[in-house]
Amino acid sequence: MFDEHPAPPPALEKTPVEAVRDLAAARAIVERVRARIRHDVMGRDDVIELVLVALFGDGHVLLEDYPGSGKTTLAKALGESITDAVHGDIAPFRRVQFTPDLLPSDITGVMVFDTTTNDFHFRRGPVFSHVLLVDEINRTSPKVQAALLEAMAEKQVTVDNVSHRLDALFFVIATQNPLDSVGTYPLPVAQLDRFLFKIRMQHVDRASELEVLASWGSPRQGPEGLARVSRGQIIAARDLIRRQVHVSPKVHECLVDIAGILRSDKRVAQGVSTRSLVQAIPALQVRAMLDGRDFVTPADIEHLTVPLFRHRLAMVPGADAPERVVRDAARGPLDTLSRSTISR
């Protein structure tokens, strides 16, 4: 039964997810992925939730984090929780370390001359995967960044004037170090706009860190006991969520109002794009579904505004932190939206 409050998450192993028939099934799929990731990554529940929202909302995430904080583990666990019986040639998970000498073809793929057939054929790059972890995205040259961003936005790569479609599930987790910025190529706002979320990770808390240390060295049961989900189920769930979670026109108004306030804010040099609002809708739907609802409420917007909008703003010099600006901008429209439920 969906939409009972408080609704316990469905039992993962027992729920058959052969086909995604309703939101409860979709939620079961998400919870299954979540359980697998949580098995490997401790103390990062908030980040895991946002990553899942992006995955099922068909977006990409940019993690701003310190080295050695579990980014790779997270991405790998996500990739490994997905099976794909249909496309055997697509790796579930790939990782690319971005360096200044990287070339676009190193990630998209390259035309190779096959001496046996006397013909060129396309050898796929790491973007042909379900989950792609891009480490230190700001360390490579803008042309490589641009090639990746085309792949992210259009789910295709063009090599030698031939376009190759990527998998529908294609999901990028990019990282960058917030402090070590010497010799980097910072992403401009236009490119940051391609990411659904920028997630600023904090160090894990003391208890989780102790748990990590305690589990080191001791034989630990692998995630094999936890069921995986198939690529098709994720895509079906995406589709179902998009169709079944209702988004009221008032929610649209609220988003547009927030964008309007951000654009007219004196602290902001460049406001958020319309694309960001379009991307926000599926994310809000996933978040509502995760909360056991089939409609979006102000709580969803409140929860997601900061990761949705903060990286898309160009601030004037000396202005406040963008988080604060976004929070200030959201306060009024959110209050109006809440009021509207009783004031008609």
Partner: protein, 717 residues
């Protein structure tokens, strides 16, 4: 409850500190009320301050909102004054208690309510936010400073009750005052403490004691030798003359009065103190160069002298009452064709028993007093000033035909002494034969005689049974009262109706320009008036040719014009709207505000009840149901905050209403999602469940308080 009690709760201060705080504030209340209140009120003030501190602690520990506590305290403080007044004025309480007890109870209610309410309000705020403690500290220091307010402007010996005591003890008052200041400041600082460890608290108290002991030790060292005998002038009596000076003229606006024999007017001249101000509405030059402002007339001969007629049958042309409610008219006794109407406005600077006006006033009307602190009375007067030439007055009798014999006798009574008639007859014989027997001419002859032979001096006193005779048939040295009485008696002996008028005579040349005439106390005067048939009473003053009086001084013209400006502070020139432009209608504003607040409260309750009724009438309207449910929490200040989503609000209220969360979810689905068929019913059922939980879990007094809040719905968002 326990979950919300975090470790840093401000009400967790040690009880010891609360008690010290209560003690300090009670002492401050005692000191602050000391100069104002009696014994019972002082005790009440101190007790209510201490009680308020402890009560505030108790209620704030029970999670009363600070604003509500402050509101309650302030309401009590504001209501204290009307309550005390009601007790003092209510006949029921008077009848129940004795009058003395009623006043004690009223005083106690005033100070207890005022101080207790204020302390409670500030304490409630200070428990939530320490910054408000500054107000408490200010109150304590202010109470002490107020007590020693007389110590200002280098008056280092004030207040005397302290410095005298200190000096008799051999202490230097200055050091004592400094010590008191240090202790007051330290006590005030203590009020800002909170949740200090007992050790720190004890150390603070020990430090306070050490300061006191140190000061005492210092004082011991500085003892000075003084003569403590009662004759040393340290009795606390005020000897440096800052008390009210014994003004010989204060309240003595009666002018020369009717004292003839004791010669009170013959002493030193009183300092020329302003007693009244006259504003002329039109230019008026008196015939004889003197303005006569008459207050009283003396017409009844009592065997020795003339005095005020108390019978009410005579002197009806003199207005004896101040106008209060409306105009007062004198009985008509003048022929207007001989007189000029002179309208004036009088402003009295000192009290007078009867209205003072330019002679002869025929009408007085109340006038707005523009400066009540300066003028004791203000009124309009219309006077008749003689304008006809003397020639028109000749050839008339004195007693008109329509006077009753009794009235004629009243105005002709004079001492039973043949010397008056003899002297007057002798003088009358000198009258030009053409006018022989004419009262006016005879009167002129008497006037000339007195002016020529009399000597004006204030140094001569005539005592005895017949002071007038002593003057007239003796040295003929005296002052205005003697001349006036002598003339009146001589006139009367010749069959001329006469009386003595008392008031002020102001030389026209001593006044400045402008319409104001300032009347000084030393212009007090008495003069005779004679009656001429067909004309009326006419002033008939005697001007002695010989005098040892210095000429009258000029009036201080800047004072005259200043008072004139003050009196004229009236845009309509004293003729129209009694409310001047600066008169703020406080009463009207106050009642309007009360009315406005009343209307607002009534309106608030109407909306509140309307929302409840609408929800009851339409169970299917989910918005109404939800809003009516939230109204209950808004009444208690538990409404949704601006930056709070509905879900988080419901979470915050879960302690009192667990069903609010599911209700909120269904409500949001109806408003923002795809409503289901049974959702409206669910909203109705869940609303009822929430109300049940509210009734079951919210304390009764809070619910009662909430039902009294007329504006809670305003905060339902």
């Amino acid at each position: 409850m326990t979950a919300a009690r975090d470790i840093d709760r401000p009400t967790d201060e040690p009880w010891g500190l609360s008690l010290v705080r209560a003690l300090v504030l009670a002492s401050a209340a005692l000191l602050g009320a000391w100069p104002l209140a009696g014994g019972a009120a002082l005790v009440t003030a101190a007790a209510s301050a201490a009680l308020a501190v402890l009560l505030a602690r108790l209620v704030m520990a029970r999670r009363l909102r600070a604003v509500v506590g402050a509101g309650l305290g302030l309401t009590l403080a504001v209501l204290a004054l009307p309550l005390a007044r009601w007790i003092a004025e209510s006949t029921g309480v008077w009848g129940f208690l004795s009058s003395r007890l009623t006043l004690v109870v009223s005083d106690a209610a005033l100070f207890g309510g005022l101080i207790g309410g204020a302390v409670f309000a500030v304490r409630c705020l200070a428990i939530r936010n320490r910054a408000w403690s500054v107000l408490e500290a200010a109150g304590v220091i202010g109470a002490v400073a107020h007590l020693f307010a007389r110590h200002r402007e280098l008056m280092i010996n004030r207040p005397r009750w302290l410095s005298d005591w200190a000096l008799t003890q051999g202490l230097d008052p200055q050091v004592l005052l400094q010590a008191l200041g240090v202790i007051a400041a330290a006590a005030a600082v203590m009020l800002a403490l909170r949740r200090e460890r007992p050790l720190k608290l004890a150390l603070t108290l020990i430090l306070l004691l050490l300061v006191g002991a140190g000061v005492y030790w210092l004082l011991e060292d500085q003892r000075i030798a003084v003569d403590t005998s009662p004759t040393a002038g340290l009795t606390g009596e005020d000897k440096d003359g800052d008390g009210k000076p014994d003004d010989p003229n204060s309240g003595g606006g009666g002018g020369a009065g009717d004292s003839l024999g004791d010669g009170s007017g013959g002493g030193n001249p009183p300092p020329p103190r302003p007693v009244a101000l006259a504003l002329f509405h039109a230019e008026h030059e008196p015939q004889g160069g003197l303005y006569y402002f008459r207050q009283q007339v003396l017409s009844r001969f009592d065997g020795t002298r003339l005095s005020i007629d108390e019978s009410g049958q005579f002197d009806q042309d003199v207005i004896r009452q101040f106008p209060v409610d409306g105009p007062l008219d004198a009985a008509p006794s003048h022929d207007p064709s001989f007189f000029k109407r002179v309208p004036t406005t009088m402003f009295l600077l000192v009290d007078h028993p009867q209205p003072l006006a330019l002679t002869a006033s025929i009408e007085v009307r109340p006038h707005h007093n523009p400066a009540p602190r300066r003028f004791v009375a203000a009124y309009d007067a219309v006077s008749l000033a003689l304008s006809a030439p003397t020639s028109r007055l000749v050839g008339r009798g004195s007693i008109p035909d329509d006077w009753s014999p009794q009235k004629a006798e009243h105005y002709l009574a004079h001492p039973d002494d043949p010397r008056y008639a003899a002297l007057a007859d002798e003088l009358a014989r000198d009258v030009d034969p053409r006018f022989a027997g004419d009262p006016l001419m005879v009167a002129y002859a008497i006037k000339r005689y007195l002016e020529k032979e009399g000597f004006y001096t204030r140094k001569e006193r005539h005592l005895g049974d017949d002071p007038t005779g002593s003057f007239l048939f003796g040295s003929m040295r005296g002052y205005c009262v003697h001349f006036a009485h002598s003339a009146a008696n001589l006139f009367r002996s010749q069959g001329i109706a006469a009386r003595v008028a008392v008031g002020y005579a102001v030389d026209a040349w001593t006044r400045g320009a402008g319409s104001a005439v300032l009347i000084l106390g030393d212009r007090a005067h008495a003069w005779p008036e004679i009656h001429i048939a067909g004309v009326g009473w006419v002033p008939f003053d005697i001007y002695p040719e010989q005098s040892d009086e210095p000429p009258p001084r000029f009036v201080d013209q800047s004072l005259e014009s200043l008072l004139g400006e003050l009196a004229r502070d009236d845009p309509t020139g004293g003729r129209g709207d009694p409310d001047g432009k600066w008169a703020i209608p406080w009463a009207r504003i106050g009642w309007s505000l009360v009315g406005l607040v009343g209307v607002l409260i009534l309106g608030g309750f109407s909306v509140k009840l309307g929302r409840l009724a609408a929800a009851a009438a339409r169970p299917e309207a989910h918005r109404l149901q939800f809003a009516a449910t939230l109204d209950r929490f808004s009444d208690l200040g538990l409404g949704r905050r601006r930056d709070e989503t509905r879900e988080r609000h419901a979470e915050r209220l879960a302690e009192w209403a667990p069903s609010l969360a599911p209700l909120t979810r269904v409500h949001l689905r109806m408003a923002l999602g795809r409503p289901r068929d049974d959702d409206a019913q669910a909203v109705y059922d869940l609303s009822r469940a929430v109300r049940r939980e509210y009734r079951a879990r919210m304390p009764g007094w809070k619910r009662a308080l909430g039902s009294l809040n007329p504006f809670g719905w305003w905060f339902t968002r």
